[in-house]
Structures are given as structure tokens and as C-alpha cells.
């Protein structure tokens, strides 16, 4: 991907050179790089979470013919910040017979899981905190730590409704991880590698969503559904079904701990959408159409991380659009839908995909 305008591969060596000039000792340089990247990532993800909350409230408002937050800042831009400060100033209540240690640990588990997973997302060719050759498996593994957080929260808050919510969360997320992973694997079979960069590189000739004949799109839809379930969002938001369990597993949490759960949920949405964009829609690859040189040159004008954000935010908007339209499934219907409909479908998709991949029957086998 000789992106002739946006030389993002030059950034890491430039930073390393600048730091070695500053500190000299290579050990210190590595430490400094890690510190810089960690600070950048933490700052970016928190700002991202605040923005996502604001976007969600605005999308909900306009779908429901109202204005949404308008008072704090122009068009309510600072509303989420105000909410954050309010939450921080609230009293940090711990229920009387709560299991204190696990009660305090739960929000950290949830929050840390999504933050660590964000480190592997390739925003642009070189702008990626960590690059593993088994990046995808690692991210899926870290994603399932979030379930532990929800489980711990539900159990520790000593509240019958929270326990109900936690039981539902356990059943739901573990089941839907199955078809999510299978859907991703049926594209890895084509891409040939688990490293995010190789996956994106393999889509130079075309995005997997249409390049793998039917399998690509079906896998994309399955992964979409399964990831909505993984983020506990309507129509699968039984974990904190407001109208049934009042607030499910995070009923007893207040102030900063509640904020952690809240932000973890939104970062989780962004994380899942970025994986979907990277694997199915070619991540930071600009949209090239065959040999239309003019169009391709124009597409290159948009920086790679611009493309990445465009695709991911499109998917996030679809998530929000789904949330404000559909009612909620019941627990047994949720299980039936996964085990009796989605799982068989994703298994057949994987089988068909592997046949197509080995036989090379897909567009531009190259």
C-alpha cells in the first residue's frame, strides 16, 4: 500500500529517532515510547467514549423527534463531560453485605478488558499500539474477560435483580462469542493470517465482504448480530433490561464505578465495530474501484485513519439505529436464536468458506 500522500509508516521511526536523541539509552527509549503510546491510547479512548455517548443521545433524540442534550455547550457537546464530572462527584456507595473486594474489582475488569483490546486495533498502517501476529485471537480472548466483570458485578452487589442480570449476561455473551468467532474465522480462512495488518493487506484487491462470493456478506451479518449481543445492546440487552431488572448488574453501582461500566460499554461498541470494519471492510484501505485511476487517486486523498473512522462510525451508527428500533428478546428466545439458528448458520458458512478458499473460487484469487 504505497499510499503516496499519507506516509504514516514514517511516524514510528521519526518518534524513535527523536526519543533516542533525547534520552540516549535504548532501554529508556523503549520505556518512553511505551509511556507515550499508553498515554495517547488512554486519552484517545476516553475522549472517544465521551463522544460516543453524546452521539448515541443525539441519534436517539432525532429518531424520537426530539432535540437531545442542548444546554451544556453548543448542541450539548459538553453534556457528557458534565455527566462525567457529576458522576465523579457522587458518593461511592458500597451495599452493606456486598462482597467488597469483588464489588470493587468488577468495574476494573470490565474497563481494563476493553481498554487492552483497543491497543490492537490498526487505525492506520503504522498507527497501532501493539501488533501481534495472532492479534485477532488475542482481542477475542481479552473481550471475554469483560464477561467476568459483569458476572462479578452481578454477584457482588448482593441484589437479587443484579444476580438475575449477571446470570443472563453469562449465558448470553458466552453463547454469542461462538458464532462471532466462527464468522471471523470464515474470513480468516481467506485472508490467511490472524495479524490485523496482514488481514488488511490481503484486502488490497477487494474487501472480503464482497470478494468472498456469498460467504463474506453472510459472515458480516452474523458477526454484526453476534457483536450486538456481545455488547449487551438491544435487541439483546437483557443484562440491564431497564424495564425488567431496573438496571441489571450495575444497579448498585454509583459514581465513578458506574461511569466505568458505562464507558466500557461504549468503548466495547467501538472495539467490536472496528474489528468488523478491519476484517470485512478493509480497515484503513481506501476504496479503490478496479482501474478507475482518477477515482482511486481521489480516494487516496482521504487519510487511512479517515477511512478507518468512516467505516467504523458507519457500523456504530447502525448499532445505534438498531437499538432505538427494536424491542428486547426474552432469555430463552435469545438462547434459541443463538444455538438453533445462528450457530448452525455460522458453522455452514465456515464450511463453505473453507471450501471456497482452498479451491480458490473467489474474486481476484491473485
Amino acid at each position: 500500500m504505497d499510499n503516496w500522500i499519507w506516509r504514516t509508516e514514517k511516524i514510528p521511526p521519526a518518534v524513535t529517532a527523536w526519543l533516542t536523541g533525547l534520552l540516549g539509552n535504548p532501554l529508556l527509549v523503549d520505556l518512553a515510547k511505551m509511556a507515550v503510546v499508553a498515554a495517547l491510547l488512554a486519552g484517545f479512548v476516553s475522549a472517544l467514549a465521551l463522544a460516543l455517548v453524546w452521539i448515541e443521545r443525539k441519534v436517539a433524540a432525532h429518531v424520537q423527534q426530539r432535540l437531545g442534550p442542548m444546554r451544556v455547550g453548543p448542541h450539548g457537546l459538553l453534556q457528557t463531560l458534565a455527566d462525567g464530572l457529576k458522576l465523579m462527584s457522587k458518593e461511592n456507595i458500597t451495599p452493606l453485605e456486598a462482597d467488597r473486594f469483588i464489588f470493587h474489582l468488577a468495574p476494573l475488569l470490565c474497563f481494563a478488558a476493553t481498554f487492552v483490546a483497543m491497543a490492537f486495533i490498526p487505525f492506520a498502517p503504522a498507527i497501532q499500539a501493539v501488533n501481534f501476529n495472532v492479534g485477532l485471537v488475542f482481542v477475542l480472548g481479552i473481550g471475554s474477560v469483560g464477561v467476568l466483570g459483569i458476572f462479578a458485578a452481578g454477584w457482588a452487589s448482593n441484589n437479587k435483580w443484579s444476580l438475575l442480570g449477571a446470570m443472563r449476561a453469562g449465558a448470553q455473551i458466552i453463547s454469542y462469542e461462538l458464532s462471532a468467532t466462527l464468522a471471523l474465522i470464515s474470513v480468516i480462512v481467506f485472508a490467511g493470517s490472524l495479524d490485523f495488518r496482514e488481514i488488511v493487506a490481503s484486502q488490497a484487491a477487494g474487501w472480503w465482504i464482497w470478494r468472498a462470493p456469498v460467504v463474506g456478506f453472510v459472515a458480516f451479518v452474523i458477526y454484526g448480530i453476534a457483536s450486538i449481543a456481545e455488547c449487551n445492546r438491544t435487541p439483546f440487552d437483557l443484562v440491564e433490561g431497564e424495564s425488567e431488572l431496573t438496571a441489571g448488574f450495575h444497579t448498585e453501582y454509583a459514581s465513578i464505578r458506574f461511569a466505568m461500566f458505562f464507558l466500557a460499554e461504549f468503548v466495547n461498541i467501538f472495539l467490536v465495530c472496528s474489528i468488523s470494519a478491519t476484517v470485512f471492510l478493509g480497515g484503513y484501505m481506501p476504496l479503490h474501484i478496479g482501474n478507475l485511476e482518477g477515482f482511486n487517486r481521489l480516494a487516496d486523498l482521504i487519510p487511512p485513519w479517515g477511512w478507518f473512522f468512516a467505516k467504523t462510525s458507519a457500523l456504530v451508527l447502525v448499532f445505534m439505529w438498531v437499538r432505538w428500533t427494536f424491542p428486547r428478546l426474552r432469555v430463552d428466545q435469545l438462547m434459541n436464536f443463538e444455538w438453533k439458528f445462528l450457530l448452525p448458520l455460522s458453522l455452514t458458512t465456515l464450511a463453505v468458506a473453507s471450501v471456497l478458499a482452498t479451491a480458490g473460487w473467489f474474486f481476484f484469487p491473485g
Partner: protein, 381 residues
Amino acid sequence: MELTRATAAGQPGTFAAPGYEDYFVNMGPQHPSTHGVLRLVLKLAGETVLGLTPVLGYVHRGIEKMGEAMSVLQFTHLTDRLDYLSAHINNWGWALAVEEALGIEVPERAQHIRVIMAELTRLASHQLWWGVLGMDLGAFTPFLYGFRDRERIIDIFEKTCGARLTMNYVRPGGVTADVEEDFAKDVGAFLGYFAPFIDEYERLLGDNVIFQERMHGVGVLTPELARSLGCTGPVLRASGVDYDVRRARPYGLYPRLAFTVPLASAGDSWARYQVRIEEMRQSLAIIRQALDAMPAGPVRAKLPAVLNVPKGRWLSRVETARGELAFLLVGDGSAKPWRVKVRSPNFSNLAALPEIIKGCRVADVVAVLSTLDVVIPCIDR
């Protein structure tokens, strides 16, 4: 109330394995989807509901006791506080009881206004029901759409009666004041505006497969149980019993209006949903007929200064959005009634919940309660 297993469950014996401790959960009195202050003690085995015992009385204000200390005209304003979603129909019920007792003739124009106001109230109540049903099942948007359309009706009420919820407009002898001059224009505009939106309601919730899954076969009420419990209104008609007070015991203008009473037979939540959606369409037709044929003339009959309730027992029966509301007025000749009994439709409809919810899930309790459409102040009085 000291909660023991017997008092809470109401039904002796447990379903689960021996040595299994019954798992009681309190849904309410402060809960997002109990439509008011109602406490349901659920006996659960995991997610399945073994038994449900409603605990009532949190909103008991003693309206019947107050009725004995007030004059007949003053009690009207308390009837709005019964089922706050059908204030006009409650007032009309009380007005009928008093008119029957005192033998008062109501002018023709007032009859027309009463029918229009009652049907508008039924529409407003069903719109709110539809919105809250969507929210109870997890979809927040229908709530806003329901209220957007309901606001149009409430504006008409505010312009005509001066209040948005506690109308106190229909009185013994007619209505408080004549309608505004642009009343016909407003109601006509509303009829034209709302007709297509019922289809949008159907498309948004009715056609949604998740909604259908949540509704089909949930909370089935058999006709025998419904008759025996005295359930009335859409809940009864969804179980196949064709009983509507507007047809069975016509009052006001209803004998002269052409409308059909929607009926379903399955008796589950989906049937109740269909019956109410169809009722909205029928109400639009009724309002159109009553509006077009509204004559000019006085709106209040000449009443004596003091309305003394003669000796005897009088009963008036009206069809509210939730079922049959009846007022028993026992008079002893003085200005204050000797005894006022309010037969609340929700009281009997809620009595069906413990029977039809056995074996359903916790999420179904919310769904069935929402399709039973109970209003708690009307139960507790």
C-alpha cells in the same frame, strides 16, 4: 405485612426439588414497569415464575369514604383521580348515576360532546398504552411516538376543559361549558392526522418479529376464567367473549352510532394487542360520526340549587378504555350520598394475572402486565 411463604405465595406447596428454598423477588412497589405503585411478590425458580401475589393499597386514598362526605357535584372531580387515563369516561359514569337517581334529562348537544370526549379519551389512553408497551418490551422509540400523538388530543382537552388530565368537565346534567369555536376544526384535523399513524404503529411494533415472539402465546387467559373473574374490556374481548357495555347496555349516543366491537379469540398478549389497535380505528370512526351530527343548543340541563339524592340504589355502567366502570350510588334523601361504590375494571383484570402468569418468565410478567393495561389508582381507589 409479615411476608411468610404462605402469605406471599398464596398457593401452598413448592414446585422445585425438596430442600429447595423458594426464591422470592419483590417486583415493586417501586419498579419501572408496574404502571404505578403495585408490588408483585414473585416466587421464582430461576427465570420461571412459579407464583405471583399482587400486594395492593399503596395508592389507597379512600375515595369511596370521601364520596360520603361530599355533595354529588363535588364528587365528580374525584372521579378523574380514579383511572387518570380516562377522566372523561369516569366523569360520565358518575354523571349517569346521578342523572338516573335524580331523573335529569341531558340536552342533545351535551350527549354529542360526551361521546366525542369519551372516544378521544379512549384513543389517548390506547396511545399511551401502546407507547408504554413498547418501552416495557425494551423499545424506547414507540413511547415517544405514542406521546407525540397523544399530545394532540391533550391540547384539545386543555383548550376545551382547561385541564390536561383531571378534566372535571362532564357533569351531572351535561358538560361544564360549551366547546371552543374551533373545536370541530381541531378534532377534524386530529382525525385526519392520526389515521395513517395507526398503520405506522403496526409497522413499527406489530410487524416486528421480536415483538411477535414476545407476544404470541404469552399469558393466555381462557374465556371461562375471564368470565368467572369478571374481567371486562379489551382483556375479555381478546379471549373471545363479545361483551362491550356500549353494545350490551347502550348509554348516551351509542345506540345511534355505527361501530363494531373488535374481537379476538386466542386470549394471549398478541390478541389483546390486536384488539386495542382495532379499537383505536373504531374510535376514530365514532368521533367522525358524532362530530358531523353535532346539533346546536344548550349544553347543561337546569339543575336545582341542591341536588338531593333520593332514597334507593342506583347503578351506572360505562365502558372505559380498560373495561367496565360501574358506580353504585345509594341515597338516603340528603345532599350527600349514603354510600358510593366504584367497580374498577382494573381490579378484576389484575385478578387474572396470578393465574395466567404461572410458568412464564420474569420478562413475561412485564409483558403481560403491560397488555393487561392496569392503572393502579383505579385499583386502590
